[in-house]
C-alpha cells in the first residue's frame, strides 16, 4: 500500500478548505494521477515538492510520500 499525503500551502488551503488530503494506492502512481483524483487542477499548482526534491507532474511515486503543493503566485 502506498499512502500519498497531499500538503497544501498558501491559497490552496483556502481553495480546498483543508491542509491535507490522503489517498491510498496499490501500486506506484504518478503525481498527475494523484492530482486528478484529488480534483486539483494543475492550473493551481506551480511547484511540487516530494521529500527534498522539486518534481514535475509526471514524477512516479514508488513509496508512501508527502507531496507538498505550492500555488501559482506572482510578483509583489
Amino acid at each position: 500500500m502506498i499512502k500519498v499525503k497531499i500538503l497544501f500551502t498558501g491559497y490552496l488551503k483556502n481553495k480546498f478548505l483543508t491542509d491535507t488530503i490522503e489517498l491510498n494506492y496499490e501500486k506506484p502512481v504518478r503525481v498527475h494521477t494523484v492530482l486528478k483524483e484529488a480534483k486539483i487542477s494543475p492550473a493551481d499548482v506551480w511547484i511540487i515538492k516530494v521529500e527534498d526534491s522539486i518534481v514535475k507532474e509526471d514524477y512516479l511515486l514508488t513509496k508512501s510520500n508527502e507531496v507538498k503543493l505550492f500555488p501559482v503566485i506572482g510578483g509583489g
Partner: protein, 638 residues
C-alpha cells in the same frame, strides 16, 4: 465635455518660480492616456538628449491617468517619470495610495516640473490653485515629521502628500518618493531628482468630484468585482499573507535569492515566511484608494533592544528578501527596522539591500577592508552592520556611505579589482527578487525593461502554465490561447510576453494595480474595458488600448536610444546563465544564453524593431502615431 480627465496639465518652473496651465485637446488624452505615456511625451519633446539627471534641465513628471479617481477598484496608481540618475535611461516608478486620485480631484491630470529652486520648497495644490511654499524648516526632517508639520500648517488632515526624505535630499541615486508614508514610487532614483530640484513635498487636496461619463455603471462593476475579490482564494491570500506569500514556495523550492544571488537556498527561510511575519511583527493590513484587497502590511516591534515604528508601514516581499536573505539576514525584526529606516529616509529597499549585499560580498572577498567600513564587520548575516550601512548611505557619510549611495553598478566600477563580478543589474538598476531561472518570461522582462530590471514589467509565467490557468481562460480576448511552461523559452513564450509587456505597460499608464485584474486577480478584461468606457465616455476597444501600451514602449525605446543605450544593454546578469547552487534545485536551472539571445532577437522582430539593433522601424512609428519621433531614429535606421 471631457470625462475622466480634468483637461488641465500644470507646468512649473522651479528656477523662475513660475507656473502655467496647459489645456490639451481630447486627442492628446486619447493618444497618451496618462502615466508613463504622458511622461515620455514631455521628456521626448522638452528634454535635450544627455541631460544630467540631477540638473535643473531634467523634468520630473507626476501623472495619474484618465481613469484615476473613479470608484473602480484597484486603480489608485500614478507614475513619476524623469531621466533616472541610477540608470541614465528613461526613469519611471508607479505608486499606489491616495495621492494620484487626490491630484485629479485637485484639478490636474499631470504635473510637469522643471528647473530647480535655490532654496528648499514644497508645493501646495488645492482645487486648481497652486502655491510654492518655503520648506527650509522641513529639509532634513523624516517623512513622518514632515507630513505632520505640513498638515498642521495647512490646517487640513485630508491633504495627501508625496515627498522625499533624507536620501532624496542627499541625492542618493536610488532614493524614492513616498505618499502617505507607506506608498512608494520605488525604483530608478526619482527621489534624487526631486531632491536636486530642492522640492521636499507636493501636498494636494481636491474637494470637487471628477466628471465621470457613467458613474452608476462604474459603481455597478466595482461592486461586482469587490464581491468576487472577497471570496476569491488568491485575493484572500493577498489579504491574509500579503505579497510575501511567495516566500514559502521560493524558500522551499530553493529559489529564494540569498547571499547576493550566490544561492537560492536559505536555510533560515522559515523565519521570513508570511506565517512567521503574521505571528511576530504584523500589526495590521492597509489598502489603497478604492481597493478592497488591503494587501499592504504594517509592522510593529516594541522590544527593549529594537523598536519598529508602524507609521512607516511594513516590509513586503521584495523588501523581506532584499534586506533579508540577500544579505544573509533572517531576523524579521531587524528587516522591519531596516525597512522603517529606508522608508523614512525614502530609499528603494531593493537597491539598498542589493547594494549592501554587494558590499558584503566585496568585504568577504577582501575588496573592501575594515578601514573602508570604519570598523564594521560587513559580512553576510550581520544585521547590525546592515542598519549601520543604511544610515551611512542615507546620510552619505564620507567614504563607503557616499560610495554606495551611487548604487552597486557605479560603486563596482570605482572599487574595481573584480568587484563588477558581484553586481547583478540590468541597465544599472539592481535586479528584483524573482529568479528568472524558474520563470523565463520574467527574465525577458528584466532584460527588456526600459527603466532597468523590474518585476512589474509583465505578469509572471505561472499564470499561463495550463489550459485552465487564469491567464489562458480569461485572456483569450487578447489572443492568448495556449499555455506555456514557466521555464520554456520558445517562440510561444516570446510571443506571449510581447503581449503581456504591452498589457502591463497599459496597466502602468492607466494606474491599474495588477492585484485587481486578470491574470493576477478576478477583474476581467471585459469589466476593465467597461470601466474605461464608462469613465471616459470613449467607445474604446482592446485594440486601441493595446496600441496605447505599445506606443509607450516605443517612446521609451527611443528615449533610451537617444541616451546611447544599445541592444547589448538588453541582457541578464551572468548568474542566471549558471545553475543553482545548493538546495533542491542544485545543479539545475541555467538559462541557455544562446537561446536567450535568440529570444531577444525574435522579440525585436515581433515589436517591429530591427532584429539586430532593436531600433523601431519607420513603419512601426507611423502605425503608432509617433511620426514626430522618426527623426530621432533616422540615423540609426539608415
Amino acid at each position: 465635455m471631457s470625462y475622466g480627465y480634468t483637461g488641465s496639465i500644470l507646468h512649473l518652473d522651479l528656477s523662475s518660480k513660475k507656473y502655467w496651465i496647459e489645456h490639451p485637446e481630447e486627442n492628446f488624452y486619447r493618444t497618451y492616456w496618462g502615466g508613463r505615456a504622458i511622461g515620455l511625451y514631455y521628456m521626448l519633446k522638452e528634454m535635450k538628449p544627455k541631460t544630467d539627471p540631477l540638473s535643473p534641465d531634467n523634468l520630473l513628471i507626476f501623472a495619474p491617468s484618465v481613469i484615476t479617481g473613479t470608484p473602480a477598484p484597484a486603480i489608485p496608481r500614478y507614475t513619476v517619470c524623469a531621466k533616472s540618475p541610477l540608470t541614465g535611461a528613461e526613469g519611471e516608478a508607479e505608486a499606489g495610495g491616495w495621492w494620484g486620485p487626490e491630484l485629479k480631484k485637485a484639478g490636474f491630470d499631470a504635473l510637469i516640473i522643471k528647473g530647480s529652486s535655490s532654496t528648499s520648497i514644497y508645493l501646495w495644490i488645492k482645487d486648481g490653485k497652486v502655491e510654492i511654499k518655503d520648506a527650509t524648516h522641513l529639509w532634513g526632517e523624516n517623512t513622518g515629521t514632515a507630513q505632520k508639520i505640513i498638515r498642521k500648517e495647512l490646517a487640513d488632515d485630508k491633504i495627501r502628500i508625496a515627498q522625499i526624505g533624507l536620501a532624496g535630499e542627499n541625492l542618493v541615486r536610488f532614493a524614492n518618493i513616498v505618499n502617505e508614508l507607506k506608498h512608494f514610487n520605488g525604483r530608478n532614483g526619482l527621489g534624487a531628482v526631486m531632491g536636486s530640484k530642492k522640492l521636499k513635498a507636493i501636498a494636494v487636496r481636491g474637494t470637487k468630484s471628477l466628471k465621470i461619463y457613467n458613474k452608476e455603471k462604474v459603481k455597478e462593476i466595482a461592486k461586482q468585482i469587490s464581491q468576487r475579490i472577497m471570496y476569491n482564494p488568491l485575493s484572500r491570500d493577498l489579504r491574509e499573507l500579503g505579497t510575501l506569500a511567495v516566500v514559502r514556495p521560493f524558500y522551499e523550492a530553493g529559489c529564494l535569492p540569498s547571499y547576493n544571488w550566490t544561492t537560492g537556498y536559505f536555510k533560515e527561510g522559515e523565519n521570513l515566511t508570511a506565517e512567521t511575519y503574521n505571528k511576530t511583527i504584523l500589526q495590521k493590513t492597509v489598502g489603497c484608494y478604492a481597493c478592497p484587497i488591503r494587501c499592504k502590511r504594517v509592522a510593529e516591534v516594541n522590544e527593549s533592544d529594537i523598536k519598529v515604528d508602524p507609521l512607516y508601514g511594513g516590509p513586503e516581499y521584495e523588501t523581506i528578501v532584499s534586506l533579508g536573505s540577500i544579505c544573509g539576514i533572517s531576523d524579521l525584526k531587524y528587516i522591519a527596522k531596516a525597512n522603517e529606516l529606508c522608508n523614512k529616509y525614502t530609499m528603494d529597499t531593493i537597491s539598498t539591500g542589493m547594494t549592501i549585499a554587494f558590499a558584503m560580498q566585496c568585504y568577504q572577498a577582501g575588496l573592501l577592508t575594515k578601514k573602508d567600513t570604519e570598523g564594521i564587520e560587513l559580512i553576510f548575516g550581520n544585521k547590525e552592520a546592515m542598519l549601520k550601512m543604511i544610515e551611512k548611505i542615507a546620510h552619505r557619510e564620507i567614504g563607503l556611505g557616499d560610495l554606495l549611495a551611487q548604487g552597486s553598478y557605479i560603486a563596482a566600477q570605482r572599487i574595481g579589482k573584480g568587484a563588477e563580478n558581484f553586481i547583478h543589474q540590468v541597465k544599472g538598476q539592481e535586479i528584483p527578487m524573482h529568479d528568472p531561472r524558474v520563470k523565463t518570461g520574467v527574465g525577458l522582462s528584466y532584460a527588456l525593461a526600459d527603466y532597468g530590471a523590474d518585476h512589474m514589467k509583465a505578469p509572471h509565467d505561472p499564470f499561463f502554465k495550463d489550459k485552465d490557468s487564469v491567464g489562458i481562460k480569461e485572456m483569450r480576448g487578447l489572443g492568448i490561447l495556449e499555455p506555456v511552461s514557466p521555464t520554456d523559452l520558445s517562440k510561444k513564450k516570446v510571443t506571449l510576453f510581447k503581449l503581456l509587456d504591452i498589457y502591463w505597460s497599459l496597466f502602468n499608464i492607466l494606474g491599474v494595480c495588477d492585484f485587481g485584474y486578470v491574470p493576477r486577480s478576478v477583474g476581467t478584461l471585459e469589466e476593465l474595458l467597461e470601466i474605461i468606457r464608462s469613465a471616459t465616455g470613449w467607445r474604446t476597444t482592446w485594440f486601441e488600448l493595446m496600441k496605447v501600451g505599445e506606443r509607450s514602449i516605443n517612446m521609451a525605446r527611443i528615449f533610451n536610444l537617444r541616451e546611447g543605450f544599445i541592444s547589448q544593454d538588453d541582457t541578464l546578469p551572468e548568474v542566471f546563465f549558471k545553475n543553482f547552487q545548493g538546495g533542491p534545485l542544485d545543479g539545475q536551472g541555467a538559462i541557455n544564453k544562446k537561446n536567450f539571445k535568440k529570444a531577444l532577437k525574435l522579440r525585436y522582430e515581433l515589436m517591429g524593431w530591427d532584429d539586430d539593433t532593436g531600433v523601431p522601424s519607420y513603419g512601426k512609428l507611423l502605425e503608432l502615431g509617433l511620426s514626430w519621433l522618426i527623426d530621432e531614429v533616422k540615423d540609426k535606421n539608415d
